[in-house]
């Protein structure tokens, strides 16, 4: 039995903070065999990132570590306990024995040096190579990760590559020295689904083609099902369950694992809205629609005589009263732009957009203002949706005060309390400040604010994208329930097909500013017609290894086509 590439023995990491010591990791034991992919799964605060970083000794000064992290050299000549290493010994291990792939490719590539230089840097830090040799190695590794024309692109700067390509470059940097282990920290979280599938494919090839083992840190169960051989589930700094992938998904033992798996939205899974189960429209066709877009175009003007960017390019769309329309697309598809145009935040360039009967093309704010009472908007980022200097109650009361329903936030307090209860937040939260609430709590408060004036139309722009899986499940559940009770029409914007499928009556798929497909959940996601939709669906990993293996095969076929 060969030595495992990395073996973690009873690792405990404590941080010293202003508020006293915080135990981030308590007694974690793991090992990864050569050529294996281990996924470490958990939500925020589970300690998965700290555990992975300790393999390379990348913890801040305030961290105190006990236990052992035994990392072996790729050529088998020895094992080091990383927790004991300092200075140049630690530096040698880094990059040579193990290397890291980070989450946000843009922030880990130095913007002022060409990518080739940055790859060669790692090579030359470990000695021995001349500049020409290092450059050649860099070109090689770029080619192997799938960057076309590497001989030229090796001299390009990071900003000249797309997001997916940048992540490939980051992977190339990690692979340059042929380490035995790659630690991938949420490597695809910042990428679009279709790009994610490509990167996952690359990561999957690593053990076979490069001989490296992989420790994958993620919260996305679909990615786990796609890549992992073994899975370790972490909660509050401890491993609650560890098993090989198929066993874990098929029969999870620990209650947390079961709950986690149950909370993951699945395409074609149980829907939250029973009315969405059929192909018939949820509402009779003769009722006037809330939103009608005809050949809608929105162009962002370019600067200094450069051409503008057409975000929305001839879109037809309708939302009927009481209907939930899911608008799906990747970045650059224009989905957020459409949502903002409907809410009056972005101007319409051409075509027609009628919101609650008013034509938005060329509309004056003064005329539109009275209609704003009937529209609610939930933003994506819970961290910035609230004025940090105002209490929650003051924020939620804002629509009421602005439209004269209440004279001041204090006067509106009764209604605010009602709203908070409706989103399952205790009344006392009204007196708290936004930073004192968690992300999920803030999104619920955001929902309360959007519903304050009982709107006919609610626009939700990626409302749960920034939340943990279990938190997301709860918010979506609440959302569906409120929609059923209050009966507002809703435009639900998301990049996540599974989430949209949970809620929407109809789904509209956008690609580069155009509608490529439209229909009910069953139609669009069950039997997609447009190649882009097919690719989108095929790229989405499902949280079931057996099924995912089959889907992967189909995706590869689709890709060759």
């Amino acid at each position: 039995m060969s030595t495992p590439v990395v073996q973690i023995d009873n690792l405990a990491v404590t941080f010293d903070t202003d508020a006293g010591p915080v135990r981030a990791v308590r007694g974690v034991s793991l090992q990864v065999e050569s050529g294996q992919v281990l996924a470490v799964v958990g939500e925020s605060g589970s300690g998965k990132t700290v555990t992975a970083r300790s393999i390379l000794g990348l913890l801040p000064q305030t961290a105190r570590t006990t236990g052992a992290v035994l990392l072996s050299r790729p050529d088998g000549t020895g094992t080091h306990d990383v927790t004991m290493l300092r200075g140049s010994a630690l530096r040698e291990v880094r990059g040579r024995d193990a290397a890291m792939v980070f989450q946000e490719p843009t922030s880990v590539l130095n913007p002022v040096y060409p990518v080739g230089w940055q790859i060669a840097e790692g090579l030359r830090a470990h000695g021995g190579l001349s500049r020409a040799q290092a450059r050649q190695r860099a070109i090689d590794v770029l080619r192997r990760v799938g960057i076309p024309d590497p001989e030229h692109r090796v001299d390009h700067y990071p900003h000249q590559f797309s997001g997916g390509q940048k992540q490939r470059i980051v992977i190339a940097q990690a692979l340059a020295l042929n380490p035995g282990l790659i630690i991938a920290d949420e490597p695809t979280t910042a990428l679009d689904v279709t790009v994610q599938a490509e990167i996952l494919d690359l990561l999957r090839r690593l053990p076979a083609e490069f001989g490296t083992a992989v420790v994958l840190i993620t919260h996305n169960m679909g990615v786990v099902a796609d890549l992992a051989d073994r899975v370790a589930v972490m909660l509050d700094g401890e491993i609650v369950e560890q098993a090989d992938a198929r066993t874990l998904f098929a029969s999870p033992q620990h209650e947390y694992t079961r709950a986690l798996l149950a909370a993951v939205p699945r395409v074609g899974g149980a829907r939250l809205r029973t009315a969405a189960a059929t192909d018939e429209p949820a509402v009779a066709a003769d009722v006037a629609p809330v939103v009608v877009a005809r050949d809608l175009r929105i162009v962002y003007p370019g600067r200094l005589r450069s051409p503008g960017f057409t975000a929305v390019d001839g879109v037809d769309l309708q939302i009927r009263p009481g209907e939930v329309v899911g608008l799906v697309g990747e970045s650059g598809s224009g989905k957020t732009t459409i949502g903002r145009a409907i809410a009056g935040l972005t101007a319409v360039s051409e075509g027609s957009l009628a919101v609650l009967g008013m034509e938005m093309n060329g509309v004056r704010e003064r005329r539109f203002r009275p209609l704003r009472k009937r529209i609610g908007f939930v933003f994506q980022d819970p961290a910035t949706s609230f004025n940090p200097l105002l209490t929650i109650a003051q924020c939620v009361a804002e629509p009421l005060v602005v439209h004269g329903v209440a004279s001041s936030p204090q006067a509106a307090r009764a209604k605010v309390d009602e709203l908070l209860e409706a989103v399952q937040l205790p009344r006392a939260f009204g007196d708290r400040f936004p930073h004192e609430l968690s992300g999920g709590q803030r999104q619920r408060a955001s929902l309360a604010r959007a519903l304050a004036l009982d709107p006919e139309l609610l626009i939700a722009d990626e409302p749960t994208s920034a939340l943990d899986v279990s938190v997301q499940a709860r918010v979506l559940d609440l959302f569906a329930r409120l929609q059923q009770e209050l009966g507002f029409a809703c435009l639900f914007i998301s990049h996540d097909l599974a989430v949209v499928d949970l809620l929407a009556d109809r789904i509209v798929v956008l690609h580069r500013g155009k509608v490529v497909e439209e229909g009910s959940g069953d139609q669009v996601l069950g039997e997609p017609e447009h190649p882009y939709t097919q690719r989108l669906l095929a790229s989405l990993p499902v949280p079931d290894p057996v099924e995912q293996a089959e889907r992967r095969r189909q995706w590869e076929e689709l890709r060759e086509a």
């Binding site: 933003f379 910035t384 602005v402 920034a466």
Partner: protein, 368 residues
Amino acid sequence: MTTTIDKAPQRPSVLKRLPVVHQLRSSVGLQRGMLVTGLVLVAIFLLTAAFAPLLAPYGFGQLRADGELFGSQQRPSSDHLLGTTVGGFDVLSRVIWGSRTALTTIVLAVALSIVVGIVLGLLSGYFGGWLDRVLVVIADAIYAFPSLLLAILAAIVISNGQADKWGGIWATAISITVVFVPQYFRVIRAEAVRIKAEAFVESARVVGAGHVRIMTRHVLRNSTRTLPLIVTLNAGEAILTLAGLGFLGFGISPTQAGDWGYDLNKALGDVTSGIWWTSLPPGLAIVLTVLGVSLVGESLNDLADPRLRTRRRAAALAGAVGTTTAVPGGVLSAGPEGVDGVDLLEGPDATPTPEEGARSRGADGDDA
């Protein structure tokens, strides 16, 4: 997941949350030392200015006591602890009275420039458009120009070279205002532009709030985070400019008020003869006052920026990490928007820019 009795962290009492007190308590080591030293020096300055009549042995323009002339360039003695100037005035008294002049000038200058700078910066940043672009070009032009020279011009104009007390003070104050408005303008404008794009401002727009409400309630309140820092920086520069003007001959005549710069101007010739007591005291007064104010500013800046702050064996903060608060012209991180894309208050663009194929995501919180 689990049902919730949602708990919030305990909030410390109001007193402990007051701005400077909060920094004092949360700072450590060098930064605390700097802050404390700075505050002590500033306190001394303020007290001296306030109690000048009680502290100074003689008046600022006093040439004689008990019918006897002081005499000029007298060495320090028991009658004149710091000696007398070439004009025959008591050095110590003039230094003490000079603090009052300095304080008055700073207060005037800072007050004027803040108001004008904030209003213009807010309007410009919020509304954008051609007004914004024009103002930015003007502000950049003035900002890049040596402030002392502009101050000289302003002083000429206002006082026509005359140096009566209020004329002198106003001349200095207004000239300093002219050169400092662009600074406040730029900082507030950059903040306004940044905050305007935040979700909570857009939320207010969607709700239908009017411009005035959004500007005052949302944008303004959140833009003023870095103001205390700039105020301290500008107070320091105000004193230096005042002294500079005095040194160049635009000081206030000694019979009208104490003026450190004026004293230094007159002391220049003394230095060659080895007379040190006429130049050292006013000079040191300037140094200590500006030092105090700058130390407070430096430590405020450090404490406000989580990246620069030393914590008690620090680790992650609760709450969002803010952007760098380094300030142009003083504690420095970026220049005027001559380098497009280097945002005023953020350093090299370290925040990731979502591009095609990427979307931003931050995993966030538990409910339990």
